[in-house]
Every structure is written in C-alpha cells, then in structure tokens.
C-alpha cells in the first residue's frame, strides 16, 4: 500500500452507488452460495431434499393425484398399486396424496415454530445480553423456568390444555423453543458486546437499538441459523409425538405425525400405512439435521 494520499478523482453518482451496494451484497451472497455448494456436498443434498418437500407442499394440489381428505369407499387399505402408489388408508384415502399434503402441515409447524421462537427468543436473548443486570436476571429466570420443565412435558401440558389443533401445537412448541434461542443469542450478544467494533460504535454515539440491529444480530446469524435448522427437525418429531399422544394435529388434516401415530395397529396388515409416513418423516428430519451440521461446518470461522 502506498501511504501517500492522492486526490480523490471523484466518485460515480448516487443511483449507481446505491445499486452497487446491493449488487456487492448480492455478489457476496452468490460467492457464499458457491462456496457452500463446493464444500458442503451433504448440505447441498439435504437442502435439495428440503427444497423438494417445500415444492411438494407448495404445489400439493397440482402434484397430489387425489384429495387428501376425500374417502374412497371402494378403496379401503389397498396395497400400493399404480393407481395408489403408496396404497390407501383405513378410510380409503390415498396415502401418497396425504403425504404430499402432510408436508404442508409438517413444514407449517416447523416454519411457524422456528420463526416465532427465533424472533421472540432472539429479542429476549439480545435484550438480556445487552442490558444485563435486572432485566437479564428477570428474563433469564423466566427462561430457566421454561427450560426446567422437560420440553415434551411442557409441550404436552400446553397442547393438552388447549386441545388438539395445529395452532396449539405451534404455540406449545414455540414456548418450548424460545429459551434455546434466547440462550444462544444472549451468549452471542455478551460476546459481541465486548467486541471492539461495538465499542467503536458506542464511542461514535450509537444507542442500544443501533448496536443490536447493526452489530449484534447480523453477527449472531450463524449460530441462530444452525439452531433454527436443528429446531426445525426437532419440531417435526415433536409434532409427531404430540399427535401420538392425541394432542397434536387433529384429523382429518393430513400430517405425517398423525398418519404415523394412528397407523401402528395396522403394522401387520397394511405396513404401507406405517412405512411411508415414517420414512418421509425421518428423511425430512434427517435432512434438516444434516443441513444444520453442514451449516455449522460452513459457518464455523475456525474451519474457514
């Protein structure tokens, strides 16, 4: 670097500037994506599986050969055939169609749970970590209280009281997961708060909100994303467990968990009723877990 200053020849005009800020970020994310594809083969595979499920869910009505709720009174518990590639269930519903529509429920539960608990948890954690003292004490004790109840017990308590409904499953799982995000983000906020760039920003006069929004949250996205991805998989399992207890997704909604839990008594006669939902559920959870692993590797600065 030549330390001698030069007179600035002038910079291009506004609109191009603004655009290129965006473009530079876009290019950065494109580069990151390329790097992810190059270095995380398993991550790419699991991401593709997840994308596939998302597509299935989004275009369910187009893909599914049958209405997932409509009962075909002439087709009870048929083994897989060309007409019903995964067979039919005890009420004559096409299992393949139910699995496709079930992706909607499972993904909805996952997305809603992760999104809400991530937002609430992050807000609480960041406030707790940034302000410390009494606020931190209060939030932490409440989080401790939630965490002290075993997650499934708490979910069961809430879901059983509220009754079976997808909405209630989401509420229950959200409450269960908030502390996980709050913990992580609090720790991250404590770490970031000590960073010199935060001190620099403070000495430049910025307030709490700015520091949290500009410096705090962007720098804790990596652990948040990893936790989110793992939580997603766990939510799908939790939804299935609650459905098994009869307090999860209510019929006739096609949910993988519900299909799985209701079908165990048909294991011998109609294994397809058990096999396919179980397989799909496990593959989805596996994909989210593997994605979480891949993201962890990818985002870990130590490995870069």
């Amino acid at each position: 670097m030549n330390p001698a200053p030069q007179i600035n020849p002038g910079l291009p005009n506004t609109s191009i500037k603004q655009l290129s800020t965006k473009r530079i970020r876009l290019r950065k994310s494109l580069d990151e994506t390329k790097r992810f594809i190059k270095t995380q083969k398993i991550g790419v595979i699991s991401l593709s599986i997840i994308m596939l499920f998302i597509l299935l869910a989004a275009f369910a009505p187009l893909i599914a050969p049958y209405d997932p709720i409509e009962q075909d009174r002439s087709a009870f518990m048929l083994a897989p055939t060309a007409a019903h590639i995964m067979g039919t269930d005890d009420l004559g519903r096409d299992i393949f169609s139910r699995i496709i529509f079930g992706a909607r429920v499972s993904l909805l539960v996952g997305i809603a749970t992760v999104a809400i608990s991530m937002i609430c948890g992050t807000i609480l954690g960041v406030i707790s970590g940034y302000f410390g003292k009494v606020i931190d004490m209060a939030i932490q004790r409440v989080m401790d209280a939630i965490m002290a109840i075993p997650p499934l017990i708490l979910a069961l308590f809430i879901a059983a009281l509220l009754g079976p409904a997808i909405k209630n499953v989401i509420i229950a799982l959200t409450i269960v997961n908030i502390p996980h995000f709050a913990r992580i983000t609090r720790g991250e906020m404590l770490r970031i708060k000590e960073m010199n760039y935060v001190e620099a920003s403070r000495s430049a006069g910025s307030g709490a909100l700015r520091i949290i929004a500009k410096h705090g949250i962007p720098n804790m996205m990596a652990p948040i994303i990893v936790i989110a991805s793992l939580t997603f998989g766990q939510s799908i399992i939790a939804e299935a467990s609650l459905s098994f207890l009869g307090i999860g997704t209510p019929p006739p909604n096609p949910s993988w968990g519900l299909m799985l839990s209701g079908a165990s008594s048909y294991m011998e006669n109609a294994p397809w009723m058990v096999l396919f939902p179980g397989l799909v559920l496990s593959i989805a959870v596996l994909a989210f877990n593997l994605l979480g692993d891949a993201l962890r590797d990818f985002l870990d600065p130590k490995l870069n």
């Binding site: 075993p150 017990i153 799985l260 011998e268 179980g278």
Partner: protein
C-alpha cells in the same frame, strides 16, 4: 462449596416459583372444569351439589387465595391431594418416581457408556469409513421419533421372538432380574437419541481439543497418543459433553412420558398427562415441580462435575 449449593438452591427456588405460578394460572385459565368433569355422567346434579363438591375440592376460593394456600402448604412439604383419587400427591409421586428415576439413570448411563467411546473412536479415526458410519448412525438416531422406535421394537419382538418384557413392574430391590428385563429396552430406546447427540458432541469437542496448544506440549514431551487422548484430550473435552447431557436430560425426561406408557412402566410421566386432561390441578402442579426440581438437581450435579473435571470452575 456449601455456599455455592445454597446459592444455587435459592436460584432454583425462584425458578420453581416462576414455573409453578405459570402452571397454576394457565391451568385455571383454560376451559375445562374438574367439577363438571367429575359429574359429567350424572347429569341431574343440583347447583348445591356442584357447590358442595367445589368446596370439598377447595375450588371455591379465588385463584389467588388458592395459590397462596397451595404455596404455604407446599413449603411445609404438603403438595395437596389429588382431586380425583383424593390421595396425597406426595404419595402418588413417591410411588412412581423411582421408576422414572431408574429409567432416566439407566438411559443416561447406557448412553454415556455407548456414546463416549464411540465418539472417541470416531474422532480418532476421523474421516475413515468407521467414523462416517458412526456419524450416520448418530444422526439417524436423532431423526427417528422414539415412540416409533419403541412401538416397532415391541411389535417385532412379540411377532418374531414371541417375547416382550414381563409386565407388572417389579422394583429393582424386590426382583432385580425381572426389573432389569423390564427396564433395559425402554432405557435403550431413551438412550438412543441421547447417545446420538453425545457421540456427536464428544467427537467434535475432542477434535477441537486436539487442536489446542497444550496437546502439542504433551506431544512434545514424547507422550504416546493414548496418553494424549485418554488423559488430557478426553478430560478437556468433557465440559461441553456434560453440558449437553445436562440439557438433554430434559428431553430424556420428556421422552419418559411416552416410553413409560408403551412399556407399561408406572412412572410419573403418565401422571402429568392424565392430570392435565382431568384437570387434576394439584397433581399437575406437583409433577411439574418434581420435574423442575429434578432438572435443577441434574444441573447442579453437572455444575459440580464441572468443578470436578476442571479446577478453574471450582467454586471457592
């Protein structure tokens, strides 16, 4: 040390109080009334009779007054009586808790015994096929709902081997052999997902420690790899593993609800579910309290274990 335990207990009590107020209030806010439930089949019940039952159950007071009463009694160790069985809740829990504790203990022990060696092995054989296999099994273990695994186990055992664990729970002290026959499978199922996460944590933690500077010092001493790993690296990598175990105990305790039911074990898991659906307030409150206390004790043990492993974390 004593001070430390006292300090932790005070925190614990605060947390339990927050927890129990939440449970206490939520249960009474949601629809569903225990008196109506108890008289549901009867139909022709007069207002007086309802009022009579309500007052018998102590539900005629305001929520706040009930909470004060309950807390006062709880301090003296009286957690109330079940609104349905009229049994003291402490008795109900005492009858069942050993089952859950034994189950949890066995599951944790099994998970540790399986997972830590597997994690070490996986880390040492990093990027070999055996490492990959262990990792695949571990992540698979996290992806299968445990109720599902338990059910398949029971169905397959009965179909293909004509055997399932003997029914009718026997305590370890009255009949250790039957007890172990009954407990080992459910403990194994519970251990599955726990050991999956322990394997992963042990592996990554060990690999991280193996990059630490002091490992180089030990190698520079001319130490064999076995000494490096078993004496130094392992102990240093245990802290995150133990933290994980402490947190996962919550998941494990939650899992007991389903597993106890599938394997017909009379633990406290079913107590709470039944209590919630029947609006048996004292039972639910007490059970939640017990779970909370259990979780805290486990985490206190974890904290003490920290100090035992790491002199830097010993309270003065």
């Amino acid at each position: 040390m004593v001070n430390y335990v006292i300090k932790r207990s005070v925190y614990g009590l605060i947390v339990l109080l927050i927890m129990i107020s939440f449970v206490f209030i939520v249960m009474r806010l949601v629809p569903g009334d225990v008196v109506a439930l108890q008289l549901s089949g009867a139909g022709a019940v007069s207002e007086e009779q309802i009022a009579q039952l309500r007052s018998e159950l102590g539900l005629d007071k305001s929520v706040w007054a009930q909470f004060l009463d309950w807390t006062k009694n709880a301090v003296t160790g009286d957690l109330g009586k079940s609104l349905w069985s009229k049994m003291p809740v402490t008795t109900l829990i005492a009858e069942r808790i050993t089952v859950t504790l034994q189950l949890a203990f066995m599951a944790i022990t099994m998970a540790i015994l399986i997972a830590i060696p597997a994690g070490i092995y996986s880390a040492m054989k990093r990027n070999t096929w055996i490492d990959h296999m262990i990792r695949v099994i571990a992540i698979g273990g996290l992806s299968i709902p445990n109720f599902w695994f338990a059910l398949l186990l029971i169905i397959f055992l009965s179909l293909f081997f004509g055997w399932i664990p003997p029914l009718g729970y026997q305590s370890f002290f009255s009949n250790p052999i039957v007890n172990l026959q009954q407990m080992i499978l459910p403990a194994l199922v519970l251990a599955l997902s726990l050991s999956a996460s322990i394997v992963r944590m042990t592996r990554s933690s060990l690999l991280e420690v193996l990059h630490a500077d002091f490992i180089r010092t030990i190698r520079a001493k001319g130490a064999k790899e076995k000494l490096v790993i078993m004496k130094h690296a392992l102990r240093n990598s245990l802290i995150p593993v133990i933290t994980l175990i402490g947190l996962q105990v919550g998941f494990l305790l939650g899992g007991t609800v389903i597993i106890e039911s599938i394997f017909s074990l009379p633990g406290i898991g079913s107590l709470i579910f039944e209590g919630v659906t029947k609006r048996d307030y004292p039972v639910v409150q007490a059970t939640v309290l017990v779970y909370g206390a259990l979780f805290m004790i486990v985490n206190l043990i974890v904290d003490i274990a920290y100090g035992w492993i790491d002199p830097r974390m010993r309270p003065d």
